[in-house]
């Protein structure tokens, strides 16, 4: 029916002799959430940074389905096209909100900045859209002129999400989006993400070490160990009937609730 929005083939990234990730092939389809799981050092963040154009690859191909129907390798894009992707068509939610926000400008400006980057100039409309998005991530409208430094961790993360989604991107990369948050705050961020992703029909690649997060958000799962994919499949299937020894170890290590 449709074609993938992102297609990765034989991707490898080396750091000198050390393998960051290797032999990586997978597709991401419009509207689906793919979780990449694995422990620290498994190569999942290296992989995420490569496919989001933030880190050079050593070899392999990464192709993206552009809005105009072309399906080029990211390496073949012009600088202007790459900037367009980063500012508009893609989002990147960092584990630490400070990496994705400008901490010394107001919450409203953090959201509005992405709109200005795609050409919006009308101050009133930008402020109106920013207010609306703060509402969608459950930040009260009267905080719009406060800076993120004055926000709690959970609020900062919700603001980062609003900043990413305001331009209606088609593909979002997330690196441990709930990793630094208290459990009670995590649930709220996760639920928001779950709702927004399904309402907006976003494609998401999410890196997490937390299998409960993967279960809640993703339809498909990629398990990594030592820079390689060791198991992939439907998230339910991987978690209920894990095949690879490493996946079995991960699943067996979850506390029963």
């Amino acid at each position: 029916m449709t074609s993938p929005i992102l297609s990765v083939r034989d991707l490898e990234r080396r750091y000198g002799d050390f393998i960051g990730c290797t032999d990586i092939s997978f597709d991401v389809w419009p509207g689906e959430v793919v979780a990449i799981v694995g422990e620290s050092g498994s190569g999942k963040t290296t992989l995420l940074n490569c496919i989001s154009g933030r880190l050079d690859r050593s070899s392999g191909s990464i192709r993206y389905n552009m809005r105009d129907g072309r399906f080029p390798d990211l390496a073949d894009l012009s600088e202007a096209e790459r900037r367009f992707l980063m500012r508009t068509d893609w989002g990147f939610v960092h584990q630490n909100p400070a990496d994705g926000l400008r901490m010394r400008v107001s919450a409203g400006a953090n959201v509005g900045e992405r709109l200005m980057a795609i050409g919006d100039r009308h101050y009133g409309e930008i402020r109106h859209t920013a207010t609306e998005w703060l509402g969608r991530v459950e930040i009260a409208g009267d905080r719009i002129d406060d800076k993120p430094v004055a926000f709690s961790g959970g609020m900062r993360q919700r603001l980062q999400i609003a900043r990413n989604l305001v331009t209606r991107p088609r593909l979002i990369f997330m690196d441990e989006p709930t990793g630094g948050l208290d459990v009670s705050v995590q649930a709220r961020v996760l639920d928001l993400l779950r709702g927004l992703v399904s309402d907006l029909g976003l494609a998401v690649v999410i890196v997490t070490h937390d299998l409960a997060v993967a279960r809640l958000l993703s339809q498909r799962m990629i398990v990594m160990k030592s820079g390689r994919i060791v198991e992939t499949g439907l998230t339910d299937r991987v978690l209920d009937d894990p095949h690879h020894p490493y996946t079995q170890l991960l699943v067996a290590s979850i506390l029963e609730s």
């Binding site: 709220r188 639920d191 809640l216 498909r220 439907l234 299937r237 020894p245 079995q248």
Partner: protein
């Protein structure tokens, strides 16, 4: 991936020569056989009960048919009612499994997997919303099913995490029954219900059967089984643990 319709007759579900075992890598790779040579078909309007003692592989068969468990060999063919084509869910292609779950197979598990902060009403309405039904229409229908199962309206807007076992199970049942999937899998849906609600579930199952839904279920509750079963399959016949 697709085979022509005459190969499967008009069965909505054909399970053919299916075998399943677990390899326990954390236990020195010991292989735990579950079932072998599973063969059966499920037709529109019938309620087939998986019978046999505990541990014989009944729930495992339901999970294989829903795609939660992979299979070692064999085929699980799901027939599309509109096109007549059969798709092999057992081949394990995740996107095919997701499509079949959206369009063909409903499942009421033994326990509700609650999602933090999502209300009972939204949990029940979600399968309709994901098939493109308007949110308001879906919510109205969800409220109707929950009312029928006597869930107090005060609970509709609350997340089920704090509900009693029976309340959670009614949310789970409502979610499974709200769609008109041609195949419905039921894993002990009435286990934690009182007699009045059990009777509601019995009449809901009968309505599904009258509408042509094919039901495959596990019912330890004898009165429920007597009330709805059209045929019983003894899973002991497939059990790989007989000789073990």
């Amino acid at each position: 991936m697709s085979v022509s319709s005459n190969e499967t007759g008009n069965a909505l579900l054909s399970v053919r020569d299916v075998a399943k075992s677990f390899t326990m890598h954390l236990r020195d790779g010991v292989i735990l056989p579950v079932v072998n040579d599973v063969n059966f078909e499920l037709f529109a309007g019938e309620c087939v009960v998986l019978g046999g003692p505990s541990g014989v592989g009944k729930s495992s068969i339901l999970r294989m048919v829903y795609g939660n468990y992979s299979i070692d060999s064999g085929e699980i063919l799901i027939r599309d009612r509109v096109s007549g084509e059969a798709h092999d869910l057992g081949a394990g292609d995740p996107r095919l499994v997701l499509d079949l779950r959206r369009d063909c197979i409903g499942y009421v598990s033994q326990f509700l997997r609650a999602v933090p902060r999502v209300s009972a009403l939204d949990i029940v309405a979600e399968p309709l919303v994901s098939r493109g039904v308007d949110r308001t229409v879906a919510a109205e229908k969800a409220a109707g099913v929950l009312n029928r199962l006597h869930l107090p309206e005060a609970l509709f807007d609350l997340p089920p995490a704090t509900f009693s076992g029976g309340e959670k199970q009614r949310v789970n049942i409502a979610r499974g029954f709200i769609t008109d999937h041609p195949i419905l899998l039921l894993d002990e849906p009435t286990a934690s219900l009182d007699a009045a609600n059990r009777d509601v579930v019995i009449s809901m199952i009968r309505e599904k059967l009258d509408a042509g839904t094919a039901v495959l279920g596990i019912f330890h509750d004898q009165p429920v089984r007597d009330a709805v079963a059209t045929r019983t399959i003894d899973v002991s016949a497939f059990s790989a643990r007989r000789a073990a």
